[in-house]
Symmetry: C2
Subunit: 216 residues, 2 copies
């Protein structure tokens, strides 16, 4: 995938505003991010929930966890990828993947300020379940203490988009071979209530909003 021509990158190099809009859309539609950091000289890549606040990203974790506790002031990379289809070419070489990815580089900052931390946790919940914060009971002090938050100002960003049909060699087009795209979609289903939810209770609005936001 990384070896695919980055049409977006090339085009947006001259159109920063558009690149930001595309990048933010990719980030805002992601269910999870893959967060990279360096631990004892080795690269680590961990899936994490996250949220975007303008040009800043927030991730959270138990206060004790290595990612949150040990990365204050250190460089981080946060990548969100959407796979849109398998590109089925007439050769292995031209086979590819249609995808949209945004690679963000920044420096992790441990969020000390309680108001900013509460704001970040609100955003992380709202990212996955829009409006859910207004449905659940309020957070408790010990819960806020147990959660650590890192902020990441977006210092650099690379958008890559591969879309459309395969690009076969001209001499391959005459081959008696099927070529095209196998679409990949993400779907959010109906909510499955837990054992303590009355079967007659309607789904909260946040589930429908999440379906609309993430179902491709």
């Amino acid at each position: 995938m990384s070896d695919q021509p980055s049409y977006a990158k090339i085009r947006y190099a001259k159109r920063k505003v558009d690149e930001d809009a595309v990048a933010h859309a990719i980030l805002d539609q992601g269910l999870v991010a893959h967060v990279g950091f360096v631990a004892e000289g080795r690269p680590m890549v961990i899936p994490m929930a996250y949220a975007r606040d303008g040009n800043r990203l927030y991730i959270h974790g138990a206060s004790k966890t290595r990612i949150v506790a040990r990365n204050d002031g250190l460089p981080m990379c946060l990548t969100v990828t959407h796979v849109d289809g398998l590109v089925v070419a007439r050769s292995g070489f031209n086979s590819s993947v249609n995808y949209r990815s945004c690679v963000v580089h920044g420096t992790a900052r441990w969020v000390e300020d309680r108001a900013e931390r509460d704001h970040a946790l609100w955003l992380v919940t709202d990212h996955l379940l829009p409006g859910r914060n207004g449905e659940v009971r309020a957070a408790r002090p010990q819960e806020e203490k147990a959660t650590g938050v890192l902020a990441l100002e977006i210092e650099a960003m690379t958008v890559k988009v591969r879309s459309g049909p395969p690009v076969d060699e001209p001499e391959d087009l005459a081959l008696d071979l099927w070529s095209g795209v196998l679409p990949v979609t993400v779907a959010l289903g109906r909510g499955v209530p837990d054992g303590h939810t009355p079967p007659t209770m309607a789904e909260p609005a946040s589930l429908g909003l999440a379906r609309r936001k993430f179902s491709a």
Copy 2:
């Protein structure tokens, strides 16, 4: 997500064989991996196609690309994550994500041997489109030269699995709130033929095999 209890990790710590089976299933069902490495002291996370061959992983890229060319002998991290559902709890604190992830640590090895490189490229194509290698025309020497391959022996692996309903505080269960799981699934659709494929031509078998393999 990383702050979720890792049931799998705890349980499988005593049952290595099971952990390997679960880890291999997570790796084999992934569309893309997020590959982490260190470049000029900074973490980088890039989405890449990949394939597993026993206890070894292969990734490929244009011979010139930084990932392939500059990482021979360096530590790498390869993470595959499946998001299975949004865990909608009665509090933001207990809200979570159902997921399966496998984090692999290894050392990148530039594949010099042509037979191993061809084998790796065959596997990467077969990973996304099972059987496709038998459908397309043979690779050409200049295509093989243009492609670089890295091998990664799995030196360490961490499996994390979060599944099931929310775990709410006992005192929250009486609240008049919907709680449960919003399922997330990946679906591969019908193939969309390109402009050079006769509309009457049937989908090749590899597309159906990919649908069965990746549609959750």
